[in-house]
């Protein structure tokens, strides 16, 4: 009924993670092998494997608590995996984390920005730490701020920004250095319709230009529209993985949404809604 985690797409690139592995066998920009993460006794992620080639946009889809953000944190080097490896261009990212981060653009799920900095100061801080020359930074930041209609607000403190404005600042900061790999953790959160459409178009364009993109989201519609590949998570493990087109075909007649619901949440949606409505309508006293 569904595509197995070790589908044709994954199997072709899967390698054992033991010693003496020739990491350079892979042509993928980013590869995860047997990734696992435990917080104490709780396994947040179990035996995850995927790879993203140049120009591919991989959607990591799953309900809340499925392990998407943990995967993203491991892939970005923010959290060390309990087991497994993350490879960039065939090399473990821990070998030269600084070099890896130079090629990485990351949009976190919740942008916790410095409220005392202005939008421009924040971009200037990020650009300086990425060693982007000031002139280049000024040109790029101005252009991107104007595209995202933030230019008039560039000198206001971030503390006064709305959630969508913060998200746009983070998107600019993530792309200002033209990274080879983009990791986007729920990037549309808080964005208005126009900004979301612009960002979706931008990511697709960057994909066509050869960038590798990992896109994490709980919303199937976003993933379906934008991604070339999909990894479906449930309770920290992969339940389905492969190119979007193949997965759509795999559900034979059913929509991807129906397949997604079937694979993830085994709940009676109508019954829960009825119970909620009854609770709402219950007398207040």
């Amino acid at each position: 009924m569904f595509v197995s985690p070790k589908s044709r797409w994954t199997q072709g690139r899967e390698l054992s993670a033991g010693r003496g592995v020739n990491y350079r066998m892979s042509a993928a920009v980013l590869e995860a092998r047997n990734l696992a993460k435990k917080y104490g006794a709780v396994a947040a992620v179990r035996d995850i494997a995927f790879s993203i080639g140049p120009g591919e946009i991989l959607g990591v889809l799953g309900p809340n608590g499925a392990g998407k953000s943990t995967i993203v944190k491991m892939v970005t080097g923010l959290v060390e995996p309990t087991a497994g490896h993350v490879l960039f261009r065939g090399e473990p990212i821990q070998q030269d984390l600084t070099l890896y981060k130079r090629n990485l653009g990351y949009v976190p799920e919740q942008p916790d920005l410095y409220g005392f900095l202005t939008g421009w100061e924040y971009l200037e801080l990020v650009a300086t730490l990425r060693e982007i020359p000031p002139r280049v930074m000024r040109e790029k930041a101005s252009a991107m701020l104007q595209c995202y209609t933030l230019y008039p607000h560039r000198d206001s403190p971030i503390a006064s920004y709305s959630k969508g404005m913060r998200q746009r600042i983070v998107l600019i900061a993530a792309m200002m250095h033209d990274p080879e790999l983009l990791v986007l953790d729920e990037p549309f959160s808080g964005l208005d319709v126009t900004s979301a459409a612009v960002t979706r178009e931008l990511v697709e364009l960057l994909g066509r230009r050869g960038k590798a993109v990992l896109f994490s989201s709980p919303v199937l519609e976003q993933v379906e529209k934008m991604c070339t590949h999909l990894t479906l998570l449930k309770k920290g493990g992969v339940v389905a993985s492969g190119p979007i087109a193949e997965m759509q075909a795999g559900f034979a007649g059913n929509s991807l949404e129906a397949g997604f619901m079937q694979l993830t949440e085994q709940v009676d949606v109508a019954h829960i809604a009825q119970e909620l409505a009854a609770a709402v309508g219950a007398p207040a006293r």
């Binding site: 709780v42 080097g77 923010l78 130079r102 410095y114 300086t128 080879e180 050869g210």
Partner: protein
């Protein structure tokens, strides 16, 4: 998959730097400095926020003021008028040196305790800086340099004026020659800087060791209490004044300002026999904390920065805390539903938020410290002052805590549910004050008085303490139109010093007048009904005043959720 030029793109390596046009390390140092002064999570910006200029001004003020006040003491004209002979200048000036040392250490301690959570990088720094191509070593060194720079700057600022003014006053009074004067200035500067550094390093070493050794959850639980203790200790150093404790074999030998007084004298070349035993303590103490602090800082840094996203244990149930909350909730019973909700919200926010808890702990701790000293006094009237001291500081601490936001973005819950034209929250505020006054002030005062003067008199004493404390709370809440903890911090910067002076005067008045009134009621208990009558009359008068103002349209009773600055231009409605 269709894409253009995918595989020929090579990973970016380190870009070539254009003649120092951009320096990530220095930018990072600047960033950490800004964060020390202004930083933090804006939703939790509950501390008094000054800009760097006003902050340095406030810190420099006590040393400068005391230096100016000493002009009178070191006046040869006054000696001549009073017929006083020139004293031994080194022993004559020892109490003032001692005061400056206490001031330097106290300020360093208060600042370190308050800014502790900004000294080490936190989760916000981790989420912003860790994804960037900056090696952890660079972040560590930049943070360390920023902290070192800030500490040096504060030490210079706090002691700068006194370093020149005080030695010059003494030198001109005692007719010291140029060489002696320079030695005096150098001794003053070195000793006070080392005292500040000692305090800073000790606290950082202590908290850094705790961060490195204790399990994360235990450290989080202990940290606010330790910081609160450090804050109280630092304030005590600050207010200890210029009375030098005596005796190398008393408890005073563990008191660091004494060690640094001996160092001061040694640097001047006039070490007295009484101070000599403390010199090696100062030198050993400095050496120990200078070695200990960097190690603890590095370990604490590693724990707090590198492992910031790793915490995964669910919070424990804390049955004792639940029991205490259950008891305190009793004070909210019988209130209107809205007041009850406000009461429960305030109580939980104050007891669970680190900054609020620390504010309350410092106020109550300082009150208890001063109160305990007074309670042990042989003088009966001084003993009566003890509960008033604790009550004043507790109510003041609560009043400050009410101004500190718990989480401003969350105040929509109140805004959405309220009609802001009526003012329903003040009843809950009174209940919060009462709920903490009873167990922390009134009950201990009653128990101590029972042991001291008998049950009946203790009842009168407890009643007077409670009545006057609630009256004080009413005065402090006059004009208050907020639901506590839901508004941004008001700007205190412009009138901060005035507020401090007012509070000091009010504290002294409340303590002494309260004790006198209490003593009078104890002597003439048949006058006791006058107290509730007077309070009822005051309440009646106040209500009448408010009703009159409401009738005249002069009363603005709308609840406030934002701090509106003063209006620059007022349109006169003639």
């Amino acid at each position: 998959m269709s894409h253009t030029s995918p595989r020929n793109s090579q990973p970016q390596s380190a870009p070539r730097r254009a003649n120092g046009a951009y320096r990530p390390f220095l930018r990072l140092v600047r960033h950490f400095l800004a964060r020390l002064v202004r930083g933090g999570h804006e939703s939790e910006s509950s501390e008094f926020e000054f800009g760097p200029g006003p902050l340095l001004g406030v810190l420099a003020a006590p040393g400068a003021c005391f230096s100016f006040l000493l002009f009178q003491k070191y006046s040869s004209l006054q000696d001549w008028i009073m017929g006083r002979r020139m004293p031994n200048i080194y022993s004559f000036s020892a109490p003032d040196k001692y005061f400056f040392i206490g001031l330097a250490m106290g300020v360093a301690g208060v600042l370190t305790a308050l800014k502790w959570d900004r000294i080490l990088p936190d989760s916000q720094d981790y989420l912003n800086l860790a994804p960037l191509p900056v090696p952890p070593r660079t972040i560590f060194l930049a943070n360390a340099l920023a902290v070192a720079f800030a500490v040096t700057l504060v030490a210079i600022d706090v002691n700068g004026v006194s370093t020149f003014l005080f030695p010059l006053e003494v030198a001109s009074y005692a007719h010291l020659d140029v060489l002696q004067s320079f030695r005096f200035i150098a001794a003053h500067a070195i000793c006070l800087t080392l005292a500040s550094l000692f305090m800073f390093c000790s606290i950082l070493a202590l908290l850094g060791t705790m961060a490195a050794v204790l399990p994360r959850t235990l450290f989080r639980a202990c940290s606010p209490w330790v910081r609160g203790g450090v804050l109280i200790g630092s304030i005590v150093l600050f207010v200890a004044g210029n009375v030098v404790p005596r005796g190398a074999d008393t408890i005073g030998r563990f008191y660091p300002p004494l060690w640094f007084l001996s160092l001061y004298q040694w640097l001047e070349g006039h070490l007295t026999p009484a101070m000599a035993p403390f010199l090696h303590k100062a030198l050993y103490g400095l050496a120990i904390v200078m070695v200990w602090m960097p190690a603890a800082y590095a370990l604490g840094y590693r724990r707090s920065f590198a492992g910031v996203l790793e915490g995964g244990k669910p919070p424990r149930k804390q049955p004792t805390a639940r029991l205490a909350l259950g008891f305190l909730d009793l004070f909210g019973s019988g209130a209107r539903p809205f007041d009850r909700a406000c009461y429960r919200f305030m109580l939980r926010a104050i007891l669970r938020s680190d900054s609020h808890r620390m504010c309350l702990a410092v106020a109550a701790g300082l009150g208890w410290l001063l109160g305990a000293q007074l309670a042990m006094s042989p003088d009966f009237n001084s003993r009566l002052e003890a509960p008033f001291t604790v009550a004043y500081l507790l109510i003041l601490g609560l009043r400050i805590a009410f101004e500190m936001p718990a989480s401003v973005p969350a105040n929509w819950a109140f805004r959405a549910a309220l009609d802001t034209r009526v003012h329903p929250g003040l009843g809950a505020v009174r209940r919060v004050i009462l709920s903490l006054l009873v167990p922390l002030v009134v009950a201990p005062a009653f128990v101590l008085a029972w042991r001291d003067i008998g049950f009946g008199a203790a009842l009168i004493h407890a009643f007077v303490v409670l009545a006057l404390s609630m009256s004080l709370a009413e005065v402090m809440l006059a004009g208050y139109r907020k639901i506590p903890l839901t508004c941004p911090m008001p700007p205190f910067g412009s009138n901060f010093l005035v507020l401090i002076v007012i509070q000091i005067v009010a504290f002294a008045l409340f303590m002494q007048l309260g004790a006198r009134l209490d003593s009078w009621f104890l002597e003439k208990p048949w006058y006791l009904p006058l107290l509730p009558l007077a309070m009822a009359a005051a309440v009646w008068w106040n209500r009448r005043r408010i009703a009159q103002a409401r009738e005249d349209g002069e009363l603005d009773e709308t609840l406030v959720f934002e701090n509106v600055g003063p209006v620059a231009i007022t349109r006169l409605d003639l």
